[in-house]
């Protein structure tokens, strides 16, 4: 890739670039860096695009100017100040924006741990874009949507089998939404038993923050357990300190975001059940254990999956994703409605579950993603799923082996083998050179690979680094990533200024957070315009 617009102010680089040796900064890579203005700055008043059909004269004659007939207070007083551009200009703008975006398909995204960046097969996109999906209305009579119900039911069966569960809902629109659905069902379950006093959910510090956040959104208090410094596990003693007669349930994760599989997890489930609580499992980290481990066998009552992670549906620049929640028979009655049923010849939507929590979102969820996930499982088969998980694990352990040769980098819980990902630390590098993980990550962008995910909060591991090489990653991808780490580490020890002022060859330089509160940051052009009258 090359610099497109050398005249842009950005191309001149940070002040640091001027005194650093070009040869020291250069990595052989330069991001595409269009000096692209916003649509607003390109706007040419009066430009219009005839996209919509004209209203027929017969209609206009019959009803007249219905807008003018609105009471003034109900009518828009002034036209929206939106940009006005021709169709080709708009397309060019968005193409340029896309070229300044690092998709999974653009290169090496293995840095984004906990994201499960994997290939989204294009055949799945084509299938989900067929009119038989795209032009269906969710309220059509059952007899006209038997095909889509068959796919949903088929995916339900597969997920039940993979999870060791009995029923599935696809209504949640993401992982966090899935966790929230679990929390709502836990609440409804205790309510149905007359035990509303159970108001505490136990969770842990090395799972996704949506677990505590959704529990509190559902009205619970949250007790977080921390991993033991030696084993990386929560430990029975800590769990006992958390359990009480107020325990509503536990939201656990296996394996953790650290890649550690908690060997006592089934015992946690047993203890929580014994105390009258419900066990929910977050399987955002399912990618390394498909066909090897089943939520139901660990003692989970409910489990949620991210179809946009494990099951290959595209991440969409940050959604739309899709969540799926699978439950044991005892919790089927609490699921959101409708659930898909099959009577042996026809598929039905059942909205009549006596304890249902009702709805958590609109309609039946992100149905096109269910089609894509179904196509993916079909393409994989049980053998392919097992193979994929094995490769997620092999790639990760190969990465660990190679990355630990990088000076200044350590791994958390070194005595444990990790499954799908691991949390590394640059604390040593930071102490010895002043280069922290944020600096390191910025510099990584100069190497033509995607930046890495540092860590969820709380940051138990200092200066964290959390990559995740899924099965879609090749050995060469891992080697490229590791080579960049060696390069940057060497820079940190010999010429840290290069890293501390990075990036030098990516799209923009590092941002400055110089505001006291968020009202000082423009989130819309109308605010930018008001606060920057001179542009």
């Amino acid at each position: 890739m090359t610099t497109i617009d050398p005249k842009s102010p950005a191309a001149e680089g940070a002040p640091a670039d001027r005194y650093l040796e070009y040869s020291a900064i250069d990595t052989g890579y330069r991001a595409v860096r269009w000096h692209e203005k916003t649509l607003y700055e390109q706007s040419r008043p009066g430009s219009t695009n005839a996209i919509l059909p004209a209203v027929e004269k017969g209609i206009v004659d019959a009803v007249g100017d219905v807008v003018a007939a609105l009471p003034a207070a109900a009518r828009r007083a002034r036209p929206p100040e939106m940009p006005e551009l021709s169709e080709p200009e708009i397309l060019r703008h968005y193409i340029r924006c896309s070229q300044m975006t690092y998709g999974y398909d653009s290169g090496n995204s293995m840095g984004l741990g906990t994201c499960t960046m994997k290939y989204s097969p294009r055949i799945n996109e084509q299938l989900a874009a067929l009119p038989e999906v795209k032009a269906l209305h969710p309220l059509q009579p059952e007899e006209t949507i038997q095909g889509i119900l068959e796919i949903m039911y088929g995916m339900r069966n597969w997920l039940c089998e993979l999870a060791g569960m009995d029923e599935v809902t696809f209504q949640p629109r993401g992982g966090g939404h899935g966790a929230f659905t679990d929390a709502c069902m836990i609440r409804a379950y205790h309510h149905a038993r007359g035990e509303d006093f159970r108001d505490e959910i136990i969770t842990c510090a090395v799972s996704h923050p949506c677990n505590p956040a959704t529990a509190s959104a559902a009205g619970f208090k949250v007790i977080s357990l921390y991993p033991d410094e030696v084993t990386g596990e929560l430990g029975i003693d800590a769990l006992r300190a958390a359990i009480s007669d107020r325990t509503a349930g536990i939201m656990m994760t296996a394996p953790y975001d650290t890649g550690v599989f908690d060997s006592q997890i089934a015992e946690y489930a047993r203890l929580v059940h014994e105390a009258g609580g419900v066990v929910s499992l977050d399987q955002a980290n399912f990618n390394g254990v498909m066909t090897r481990m089943r939520a139901g066998d660990l003692g989970a009552d409910m489990v949620h999956f991210n179809l946009h992670k494990t099951f290959s549906t595209p991440h969409g620049s940050y959604g739309p994703g899709a969540g799926a929640v699978a439950v044991k028979k005892a919790f089927r009655d609490f699921l959101p409605v409708p659930v898909v049923e099959f009577d042996g010849s026809r598929y039905h939507l059942n909205s009549d579950l006596s304890n249902s929590i009702g709805k958590v979102g609109t309609f039946m969820g992100m149905v096109p993603n269910v089609v894509k996930a179904y196509a993916w499982v079909l393409a994989m088969g049980a053998e392919g799923l097992r193979e994929a998980s094995e490769w997620a694990v092999i790639n990760n352990n190969y990465l660990i082996k190679k990355l630990l040769e990088v000076r200044g980098l350590d791994i958390s819980w070194p005595n444990r083998r990790k499954l799908q990902e691991a949390r590394f630390s640059l604390a040593k590098l930071h102490d010895e050179t002043g280069v922290g993980t944020l600096d390191f990550n910025y510099r990584l962008a100069d190497f033509g690979v995607q930046t890495y995910f540092e860590s969820h909060v709380p940051r138990i591991v200092p200066e964290p680094v959390t990559p995740e090489p899924t099965e879609s990653i090749s050995k060469e991808d891992v080697d490229q990533f590791v080579a960049a780490f060696h390069h940057i580490s060497a820079e940190a020890y010999s010429n840290p200024e290069i890293v501390l002022t990075a990036p030098h060859r990516s799209i923009v330089h590092r941002e400055i957070h110089d505001y006291e509160n968020l009202t000082q940051v423009p989130f819309t052009w109308r605010v930018w315009k008001r606060t920057h009258p001179d542009g």
């Binding site: 977080s224 357990l225 200024e497 501390l500 957070h513 505001y515 006291e516 000082q520």
Partner: protein, 417 residues
């Protein structure tokens, strides 16, 4: 679910996180730092003297061949600060063009002038000293002079004794950052090491750090040398802190995930569950914040007694507590609210010796409510500590314990002796 949910929103009551005294965004301004080096801090440690307070100890240490360390520690911090405005310094945290320039004032010679000049500063030098024979009185005078000079922050190198002297002179009137150079570091006003001290100062000057109250504690060195640890809590000074646990860079949120006020609400929720109990409130700002939410003015350093929302006794000692516990009706429970004291994470045995093994036993482990901000727990990086002077009681307290960290937040943390 609590009556106190929502309410004031995230901007309220962030006692521990209000923005530091930095400059306006993007404007390069000059900021004033006062520097104090206690040249004799820490010299007792290397020769096994457990502290360096008192002229006799210092003389003995020097006679034993001790080398002063504080100057070297301070020099490291200053070197990093000086580089802050130049390439290769702390620019990873503070991009160029936005570094405020530093005006530095200090005391003569080994009390700061020497290391400041070595680091490239041209300091304003105040006061006078007797070289080779500085005392705590010099530290106190220096702190006062630097405050009068207009320091935005006092940077000092020393140990608990030095912190006490600075505290005695300026109290909570100016933020401080301690560079750890002493034998005894029980106070919370010290950065982990000289590099972190430089980072904290930089963040503070850029207006990126929060400020929070940190303990000034000291141990009676005579008793310490005799094998008895008796830490006293002398008060609180304000120290910048950086929320290292957040995603990416700065939040911009004036309220954090776990402010003192949140913690106070969480403790009140626990109190609501046991409304009839007598509540023994330990020392410290966290517990004081709980009382504050109840509309009660609690003693900062003492142990107070609360019943049904009213103070029934203040600043009680162990004997008074035990007498009370013996008198109260069987049917009424006694509960105890404590927080983490000092930089090392003590729950019992430092600064709250009134809460003796006998008191702890009378309340019972299950009656103890531990309250602390999450930031404080994370900063510990290790377990909570107990040192009641009674091994059996320490063992009784050890294991895992629930800590109230917010209105709806609890964490389980390990406790060891």
């Amino acid at each position: 679910m609590s009556e106190r949910s929502g309410g004031a929103g995230p901007t309220a009551g962030a006692a521990s996180t209000e923005p530091g005294g930095g400059p306006d965004a993007g404007v390069a301004t000059r900021r004033r730092i006062g520097l104090i080096v206690n040249p004799l801090a820490g010299i007792g440690g290397r020769v096994g003297l457990k502290g360096s307070d008192g002229a006799e100890t210092v003389a003995l240490a020097l006679a034993l061949g001790a080398v002063p360390m504080a100057g070297a520690r301070a020099a490291e911090t200053l070197r990093l600060l000086a580089e802050g405005a130049a390439p290769g310094g702390l620019r990873g945290h503070l991009p160029g063009g936005h570094s405020p320039e530093i005006d530095l004032a200090t005391y003569p010679g080994e009390m700061g002038e020497v290391v400041a000049r070595e680091a490239g500063f041209v300091p304003t030098v105040l006061g006078s000293i007797q070289t080779g024979a500085t005392t705590g009185a010099d530290t106190r005078q220096a702190a006062e002079d630097l405050l009068s000079w207009g320091a935005d922050l006092l940077l000092f190198a020393g140990g608990d004794g030095t912190a006490r002297d600075v505290f005695a002179a300026v109290g909570g009137r100016v933020p401080v950052v301690g560079i750890p150079a002493g034998v005894k570091i029980h106070s919370g006003v010290f950065a982990v090491n000289p590099r972190r001290a430089a980072e904290l100062v930089t963040e503070f000057l850029a207006g990126r750090a929060g400020l929070e109250d940190r303990e000034v504690m000291d141990i009676d060195e005579d008793l310490f040398r005799a094998g008895i640890v008796s830490a006293r809590l002398f008060g609180y000074m304000r120290m910048p802190y950086r929320r290292a646990l957040v995603q990416g860079a700065k939040s911009g949120n004036p309220g954090g995930p776990s402010t003192l006020r949140d913690v106070a609400f969480g403790v009140l929720a626990e109190m609501d569950r046991d409304p009839g109990a007598y509540w023994i409130l330990g020392p410290g700002t966290t517990v004081k914040a709980v009382a504050h939410e109840l509309g009660i003015e609690k003693t900062l350093l003492g142990v107070d007694l609360l019943h049904r929302g009213r103070l029934v006794a203040v600043d009680v000692n162990e004997a008074q507590l035990l007498a009370f516990l013996a008198r109260k009706p069987e049917s009424v429970r006694a509960r105890l609210v404590v927080t983490v004291i000092g930089g090392q994470g003590y729950l019992f045995g430092r600064g709250n010796q009134q809460l003796s093994p006998a008191v702890i036993r009378a309340v019972g482990r299950e009656g103890v409510v531990v309250a602390a901000t999450l930031d404080k727990l994370h900063a510990l990086g290790g377990p909570l500590l107990v040192d009641t002077g009674d091994a059996e009681c320490d063992a009784y307290l050890s294991g895992h314990i629930k800590v109230v960290t917010g209105e709806v937040d609890r964490v389980v943390w390990r406790v060891t002796a």
